[in-house]
Symmetry: C2
Subunit: 451 residues, 2 copies
């Protein structure tokens, strides 16, 4: 944090302790809402409610939008429905949808009842779009302009409609049926000569997304075209809302967290790790763990089938962890490249052959290098040279198979319309275990002349 | 992609085939530079150069900024130094730094020589800030205003200085020593009554970052405060540049990719997976694989130490993969929550105790559930009940240890100032292997009365 900001935070504490609430209120009014939200979240509930109540109303609403889920719920529980309704009536429509997503359905129903008919209609419309869709996270608070307006008139219109709008920097032109006709940047209105018309200044082929577009795709589109604001249209191309860059940063972070979780074999935890209860976390983690432990039936059976080999040369057992972990590790490495590439768009379905080729080459190089180390490891332990050779050869096989599985599984998921990130590390590890053990014992039979 | 955009892409192809280059040029001029860049990247080099040359110069520069690294390098290699210099002279300073980061040092040196003295000085300054620092990705192309200006005068000033500036939506006030005094939003200038002064409208306590601040922290700060633009200051708080939201989206994606790579035990691949050569990828993947395979010496030694147990009851071997994979999987799940939480700021060092407590509870719940499945698995295979019991008890132990290791290792890294994401899955797997095998054989000794 900047030194200046730290000094201000210190002053807030002092004024609070000395109960100089008038000065405290004045000081808070100069601060960033995000910082006030930080201060509130560190206070015990009673003080938090008190501080919140002394904030000027417009700042209070902004602070409320910046608070974390659980802090917000606690505040709401301390207020009367009437007080809460006054806040949510004034919130941005998109922030309100996000708040309702967090609250219990019963509370939402009660709060909706206290909203004005107009805001209630908007809130219901947004809540009804599927979770994680562009429609669900958009806000209908955009400014529209008419084509014949001059730049000067347009700026005047923007000035008048600015309050309660999400952004004044990007405005829109729609036709008689409310279909999106163009997008106008305030920058162009400011720089144009005063008599230029909106028609001449507007971008007639603006990039847009549909209400049902996935929020991740909306984020990628905004990132691709460097857009601050993207229009959201319905099936008939009628303009129904906008998404702004601040929401998109949240989406990108959220989606990355989900992918991290999926890759570790966890179903996405929507409420965040610390907010989620033990029961939720158990449920989110159990599914893949169960799949993997049940699938391990195969590795157990393979080992049982080759029990004769393990009984005659117990040293073969010593290298099982080394072998299966190495395969799992390289497989996860390949999968990470492919999954991340498919997610960010760097890798596409057309790259399959190229990726398989390079992963096979990489598998051989990495496998050869690791084989030498694994063989040396076995020799130093005093294992028979033939066993060391078996281990070394198997490492090359298991690394190549790991790379191949790590490459093919995410591409297969993508092909079947499944998010490639569900191809988690645990799944790859289990698949490569089974394949790796088969390779190991077949190599052992050949090299050691067993069975 | 929108239907309209698809139709336009079709027209581009047709005009190109029919060699109607005048119309093609006019059509391209109406398109988004990002889409033109897409078209170029799909063309063979000769056609790409041709299409690029028919673009109007201002669009050509924007398109160039949107092209991928390898496509850009190819274009550059087809142009004379003079032509390239004309392009990079006009590029945004931050995009030029990004381009220079990708090009070989020799090429950069040659191109710098062709720049105007002013642009060369700027380019050198930015290149000299550490990679991944705010200074390295910022641009000095901001607009500054004086406090006494009225809103009307300020807007006039902005109009005049707009060309070649990165944004007109956020402007700054500096004092005589160029120290940052305030930040002014165009929105406030537009909405204010014409005679209000900049001094009255400016935010006197703007959020800023230092030139040496890590780009990830800069991104988090912008996200926290919902900023479109953040000022970058030097140690003396002199304003030296700005970072805008479009750069930050790239940073967030880039940093997420790096964390994905680190967690899979890969050193960050800066040039992107498809752009990187086989040799680079080998190097980036080898380090952790080697560490892990060498560390497997411990698991081999443990198995050797308990060879007597494995020789008397070979069935113990059958469940080694099940056991170590389960520990590795649960450990990676816990680590993913902690690493991602520490990265996004949801989890802080103060949460250590709370996280350890809940991970231990989770370990017992998950362990108990998985133990039942693992025990059943063993029973169904016809293994002796005592071995099945050994496996079941060990699963509880290994899952709890996995959770504990997955929690403590990232916190430890954070404490020692290391990015917690370096606590990769492979590392946790190896640590849990060793601990899990020890648990397994000690349980076996007790339950089966061995040794």
């Amino acid at each position: 944090m900047n030194d200046l900001r730290k000094a201000v935070l210190g002053s807030v504490e002092k004024l609070f302790e000395r109960k100089q609430f008038k000065s405290l209120k004045d000081l808070l009014s100069t601060m960033e809402p995000a910082d006030i939200a930080d201060i509130l979240s560190e206070k015990p509930p009673a003080e938090r409610v008190f501080l919140f109540r002394i904030l000027p109303k417009d700042i209070a609403i902004e602070v409320f939008e910046f608070l974390e889920g659980s802090d917000r719920e606690e505040l709401i529980s301390c207020f009367t429905d009437h007080e809460v309704a006054a806040i949510i009536e004034e919130m941005s429509d998109d922030d309100r949808t996000a708040l309702f997503d967090e609250l219990p359905a019963k509370t939402v129903k009660r709060l909706l009842y206290h909203l004005s008919p107009e805001e209630r209609r908007i809130a219901n419309t947004l809540l009804n779009y599927p979770d994680d869709s562009a429609g669900h996270i958009m806000t209908p608070e955009f400014i529209d302009l008419d084509e014949p307006l001059t730049a000067t008139e347009a700026i005047e219109r923007i000035r008048k409609s600015a309050p309660r709008k999400e952004t004044i920097y990007t405005t829109f032109v729609v036709d008689g049926e409310r279909k999106l006709k163009g997008m106008v940047h305030l920058e162009d209105l400011i720089l144009a000569s005063p008599e230029t018309t909106v028609k001449d200044l507007m971008d007639e082929l603006p990039v847009y997304v549909y209400t049902e577009t996935d929020q991740e795709e909306a984020a990628q589109t905004m990132s691709k075209y460097d857009l601050q604001t993207i229009p959201v249209v319905d099936r008939e191309r009628r303009l129904v809302g906008i998404i702004t860059f601040d929401d998109i940063l949240d989406v990108v972070q959220e989606e990355a967290t989900e992918d991290f979780e999926r890759m570790a074999g966890i179903s996405p935890v929507e409420e965040g790790y610390l907010e989620a209860g033990i029961f939720t976390l158990t449920r989110k983690r159990f599914t893949w763990l169960i799949v993997c432990i049940v699938t391990q039936v195969f590795s157990s059976h393979i080992l049982e089938r080759y029990a004769f080999a393990l009984e005659s040369i117990v040293a073969l057992t010593f290298f099982i962890p080394l072998l299966i972990d190495t395969g799992g590790n390289t497989g996860t490495q390949s999968a990470t490249f492919v999954i991340r590439g498919l997610t960010t768009g760097e890798v596409t379905r057309e790259d399959l052959k190229r990726v398989v080729r390079r992963e096979l080459v990489l598998g051989l190089i990495l496998g050869a290098g690791l084989a030498v180390l694994a063989g040396l490891n076995a020799m130093i332990m005093g294992t028979h040279a033939a066993v060391a050779l078996t281990v070394a050869i198997s490492v090359v096989g298991v690394v190549s198979l790991g790379n191949l599985a790590g490459t093919l599984l995410p591409f297969a998921a993508e092909k079947f319309g499944i998010d490639p990130a569900v191809i988690s590390g645990p799944l790859i590890t289990t698949v490569v275990d089974v394949l790796g053990l088969l390779v190991y014992f077949e190599v052992a039979r050949l090299v050691l002349g067993l069975g």
